[in-house]
């Protein structure tokens, strides 16, 4: 049966039995507002869910009952026995319908007009006592209302009724617990209003009905409500502990018997072992549920949303079978629903807006769940408009959550975090769907309650991603048991990619690069971590074993090897948190008891990666959320690390490298005073980092191949070390040509080389003038580049030179203006906007104001490329305005500007 329907049946059955009791109590205390509220709420819920599930008959009956109850609640009516009886009768009808629903998974045909009419009449105040007489007629009415023969598979209500009657007749002597108060209350209640005698017997059958209908709930009939029971988590926890005990005892027994050749215990013990294992699995399973259960309602919600909001929304759910603890699941269910709703409502644009933005009409919301390093990660991603930082900023000010000065100093990512602040709602107006301002702070609180974190990453125009990370404290994981220096440890299987045996004589062996151990694995260099060293297990001078195993481990995008002495089996383990005293040790994510009863520590690959390589993959758990957001917000760049020309490692953005080649040294030739090699049918110049570097005398020579258009250039290196994915932050600008600067990459000071320099050096001189340029005319054009950032100067100069321009560089507008005074002449000026002292706008105004450069075209370079910036640039006197990182646009703008000038001249 449909999961949703099952849940509905269970829940409604529970509500109904509560209602039976509550209604009778109401009859006795008609003025108790709490009781009325509770009853009203229960009926309202039933109505709501029926409507939601598309069950019109149930919804109609519940709706009319709710109306009557509403009157009672508002004091427009008192809870007379007549009214209560009528409502009870409608509850019975609901039960009947539910029973049919359970059997056939569809509402039975027929209508309830008669009952509804009575309820409505009651609500309208027209009906006082007549209904009671009518109620008992109901069962008989049914044939009439149905008015046709039954379809196959359909069960008539009458028949059901009979079944109920029979069941109840079977054990008349002991009425079920729930109906008891009903039966007790009814006779007392009926005579009270002193109705005509004729009406008196009437409630009788009606009163049987709750009793009989309630029967299947308590009785042995197969009912959905019966197939699941609620058990406290604590009880399951206790069971779990006992089962663990049992497993340990079993293991001990097995150990004892194993020593004897043929013991009479062998067979029964085998059986015991088997049963124990199954019991263990069974108990564990009771706590685990696939996350898909929490998602079951989402497709429907999204469908309705897309309908209500006239948006086209596609919901993708990945990893629905990822299991997590039931308790955790319950707690994240509502936050998840809320976040998905938010993504669809606030995140996604309308089809018209999307088309305008050049996106597909249908917006996407992607849910993705997976295990990672002892955590469950749930991502909620949309490809919508992203968070509008300006609007958030305005809202924060409006709500007084922070001062303007505070906001000024905050990064965009940090400002985005404000959506988690209490009382914040990003929607400009509150819609029916979401945005009541109770949203994200509640979400965050709920997630943090279970020790999780929620992170936000949003790019304007491209969408937002929420990442929920929940620890697996209670979850069962499969772990690889390894040994190092006589101690055993568990590594979560989920982060283990493969195992490699490395022995000094074998094909796979551990090599060292300047003291750093690495493993060459399928043409990739794997950084290694010796577990004994990172855990300080062995004295430093102890001889390492000749044969070791490398556990290739992945944390996020970072792959490394953990070197251990031995590898045992994988085992299913229950992760237990470590004692508070040991919680500071980042190397462990928990501890566990193995099947043989011994305690072992569970290694945390995140912690190991962070503590040894410096390439921190995840911030400390307790780290400030905003900080995390910031560090993730930076675009990370894949950098290729290599060694060449001695000294510190060098790096180059991987995107600039066309290919990595390993050419035999014989293929290196010397021509035109340069090293060249024949590469793909052409001659490729080979350059080295510094002239002192020698080509290897034998073997193979690693080469980085750069390609620019049809030209290729090979850079000779000593060794390719690794590829590291991290934000590139050049901290020290280089003084030497050929380098952009130095940055910390993989925890080491690394020189970032300037590919442009080498390309320029070669294509400019070697291929001959003009050949490497994009435009023949430009060869003679003189360009003045004004930029305070050495990084950009270093990046753009070679680029412009390659394109054939004659480049002069000024570090500041002052310096440029001095050049003007000195009488220098240029064809075009490229200027940065954000500069200390004089800004680019001021510089342009100054240039236009007077002097020799008044008519020289100027191109602005800026990281802000909004329309208003553009307008301001024009106003200040710039001819064109391009984004700083957009090389192609710059070149195009230059040639366009120059040709325009040429035409004008």
């Amino acid at each position: 049966m449909d999961e949703l329907l099952t849940e509905f049946l269970t829940e409604t059955a529970e509500s109904l039995s509560t209602l039976d009791v509550e209604l009778v109590r109401l009859e006795q205390n008609p003025d108790d507002p709490k009781l009325i509220d509770n009853i009203f709420r229960l009926v309202h819920t039933i109505k709501g869910t029926c409507g939601f599930l598309g069950l019109p008959r149930l919804a109609a009956v519940a709706h009319s009952s709710e109306n009557v109850l509403g009157k009672i609640r508002d004091g427009a009516m008192t809870a007379t026995p007549v009214a209560v009886t009528l409502i009870l009768a409608s509850l019975d009808r609901i039960k009947d319908l539910l029973a049919a629903l359970e059997q056939t998974e569809a509402e039975p045909a027929g209508d309830d007009n008669e009952l509804i009419d009575k309820l409505d009449a009651m609500a309208a105040g027209e009906l006082v006592e007549a209904p009671v007489a009518a109620v008992p007629d109901e069962p008989e009415d049914f044939d009439a209302t149905l008015g046709r023969s039954l379809k196959p598979g359909e069960v008539s209500l009458e028949e059901l009724e009979r079944v109920f009657q029979e069941t109840s007749a079977g054990d008349d002597e002991e009425p079920a617990a729930t109906p008891a108060p009903v039966a007790a209350a009814e006779p007392e209640a009926t005579p009270e209003p002193a109705k005509p005698v004729a009406a008196a017997p009437a409630p009788k059958p009606a009163e049987v009905k709750p009793a009989t209908a309630a029967k299947p709930e308590g009785g042995g009939e197969s009912s959905v409500a019966n197939q699941s029971i609620r058990v406290s988590v604590e009880q399951l926890e206790n069971l779990m502990t006992m089962v663990s005990e049992l497993v340990l005892t079993r293991n001990q027994l097995m150990q004892m018997v194993r020593g004897r050749a043929d013991s009479e215990f062998k067979v029964p013990l085998q059986r015991l072992s088997h049963v124990t294992t199954e019991l263990q699995e069974g108990v564990m399973k009771t706590r685990m549920q696939p996350i898909g259960n929490a998602w079951a309602k989402l497709p429907r919600i999204i469908r309705d949303l897309s309908h209500d909001l006239s948006k086209k929304i596609e919901l993708q759910m990945l990893g629905a079978d990822t299991e997590l603890d039931r308790q955790v699941l319950e707690l994240i269910k509502d936050p998840l629903t809320h976040m998905v709703r938010n993504s669809a409502d606030h995140g996604l644009e309308t089809p018209a807006e999307r088309t305008e933005a050049g996106k597909a009409e249908t917006g996407k919301v992607v849910l993705n769940a997976y295990h990672e390093g002892g955590h469950i990660i749930i991502e909620i991603k949309d490809d919508g408009r992203g968070l509008d930082v300006d609007r958030i900023r305005a809202k924060v000010l409006e709500k007084g959550l922070a001062s303007e000065a505070d906001l000024q100093s905050m990064s965009d990512q940090k400002i985005q975090q404000f959506i988690f602040a209490p009382g914040f709602s990003t929607a400009a107006e509150v819609t029916a769907v979401s945005g009541r301002g109770v949203g994200m702070d509640v979400v965050r609180t709920n997630i943090e309650k279970i020790g999780g974190t929620v992170e936000l990453k949003s790019v304007v125009g491209r969408g937002s991603t929420f990442t929920i990370k929940i620890p697996l404290t209670l979850a069962i994981v499969s772990a690889l048991v390894v040994e190092c220096a006589g101690e055993r440890f568990a590594i979560p299987q989920i982060s283990v990619i493969e195992l490699v045996r490395a022995a000094s004589g074998s094909e796979q062996k551990i090599e060292t690069i300047n003291g750093t151990p690495v493993l060459r694995l399928r043409n990739r260099l794997l950084p290694l971590v010796y577990l004994d060293q990172s855990l300080q297990l062995r004295e430093a001078d102890t001889e390492p074993p000749a044969e070791v195993y490398v556990v290739v481990t992945q944390v996020g995008a970072y792959t490394f090897g953990i070197v251990v002495d031995k590898v045992f089996d994988t085992e299913e383990i229950v992760v237990k948190p470590v004692a508070p005293l040991l919680r500071d040790i980042a190397m462990f994510s928990g501890n566990t008891i193995l099947g043989d009863g011994s305690v072992i520590m569970i290694l945390d690959p995140n912690g190991i990666a962070a503590s040894t390589s410096g390439a921190t993959m995840h911030e400390d758990e307790g780290a400030e959320l905003a900080r995390q957001g910031e560090s993730r917000g930076e675009e990370s760049v894949a950098m290729l690390l290599f060694r060449a020309g001695g000294g510190e490692p060098k790096a180059v953005p991987l995107s600039l490298v066309a290919r990595l080649e390993d050419i035999p040294v014989e293929a290196v030739e010397f021509a035109n005073e340069r090293y060249v090699t024949q590469y793909r049918g052409k001659l490729m110049p080979l350059v080295s980092m510094d002239h002192g570097m020698q080509i290897r005398e034998e073997g193979r020579q690693p080469v980085l191949v750069f390609a620019d258009g049809e030209h290729t250039l090979g850079l000779l290196v000593e060794e390719i070390v690794d590829i590291v994915d991290q934000p590139l932050n050049v901290e020290l600008a280089a003084e030497r040509p050929g380098f952009i600067g130095s940055a910390v990459i993989a925890g080491k000071a690394t020189d970032v080389i300037d590919v442009g320099h080498y390309v320029a050096q070669n294509f400019d001189t070697w291929f001959g003038e003009g050949k490497g340029s994009a435009d023949g005319d430009s060869a003679s054009k003189r360009v003045l580049l004004v930029d305070d950032s050495p990084f950009f100067r270093n990046m753009l100069t070679p680029l412009l030179r390659v394109a054939g321009y004659d480049v002069t560089v000024a570090e500041a507008p002052d310096e440029a203006l001095r050049l003007r005074e000195d009488g220098a002449d240029f064809d075009v000026i490229i200027s940065d906007i954000e500069m200390p002292g004089m800004s680019g706008f001021e510089f342009a105004t100054e240039v236009r104001r007077e002097g020799a450069w008044q008519d020289v075209p100027m191109v602005a370079l800026s990281s802000h490329t909004e329309t208003q910036d553009f307008a301001r640039g024009r106003e200040a006197g710039f001819t064109d305005y391009v984004g700083k990182m957009d090389r192609d646009a710059l070149l195009q703008a230059l040639s366009q500007t120059l040709s325009m000038m040429g035409d004008a001249a």
């Binding site: 502990t241 663990s244 005990e245 340990l248 101690e487 055993r488 855990l535 300080q536 297990l537 237990k576 004692a579 508070p580 005293l581 040991l582 040790i585 190397m587 462990f588 501890n591 566990t592 008891i593 009863g597 011994s598 305690v599 072992i600 520590m601």
Partner: protein, 159 residues
């Protein structure tokens, strides 16, 4: 045992406090009975690398993981074979700890007012974990306070 009295403190039938005695490095110590969960014989200990020096390891007591604390280390006494030590398991803030000792003695009920303050000459690291001393026949019993012994926030274990 009288329930009304046990509610207030570790008072026994004679209005005294009940202690489990244990010897560590030849010295007799007393631990209040009510804090004690169990007394264990020698156990196999799982080493916890990088842990504070006073942590001897972790052990499995009926399915619960117990952190073993080396009392000798904690009290600045010469080290002994940890795996041969007996231990007294105590609960502190919901967690179980086993205190490694040389030998467990007996359960003693002593009148509370017989407790004497620590002599000022007692080493500071002992005074830190002890609330006083009882003079028994022929020897002195140092009262160990579990909460002080296991108060990690004070950073004493790392010292």
């Amino acid at each position: 045992m009288n329930s009304q009295e046990t509610d207030t403190s570790a008072r026994g039938i004679y209005g005294g406090v009940e202690f489990i005695t244990a010897s560590v490095g030849g010295q007799m110590f007393g631990i209040r009975v009510l804090t004690v969960q169990d007394v264990l014989g020698p156990q196999k200990l799982a080493r916890v690398p990088l842990a504070p020096p006073a942590v001897a390891g972790a052990l499995n007591m009926r399915g619960r993981i117990v952190t073993a604390i080396d009392l000798r280390q904690r009290l600045g006494l010469p080290a002994a074979d940890r795996e041969a030590s007996m231990s007294i398991v105590v609960e502190f803030k919901g967690e179980l700890y086993s205190l490694l000792i040389d030998e467990v003695g007996e359960v003693l009920a002593i009148e509370a007012d017989r407790m004497e303050p620590n002599p000022p000459t007692l080493k500071p690291n002992w005074r830190e974990v002890s609330s006083g001393i009882y003079r028994l026949d022929g020897q002195l019993m140092v009262v160990l306070e579990v909460d002080r012994l296991l108060d990690f926030d004070r950073g004493v274990l790392a010292a």
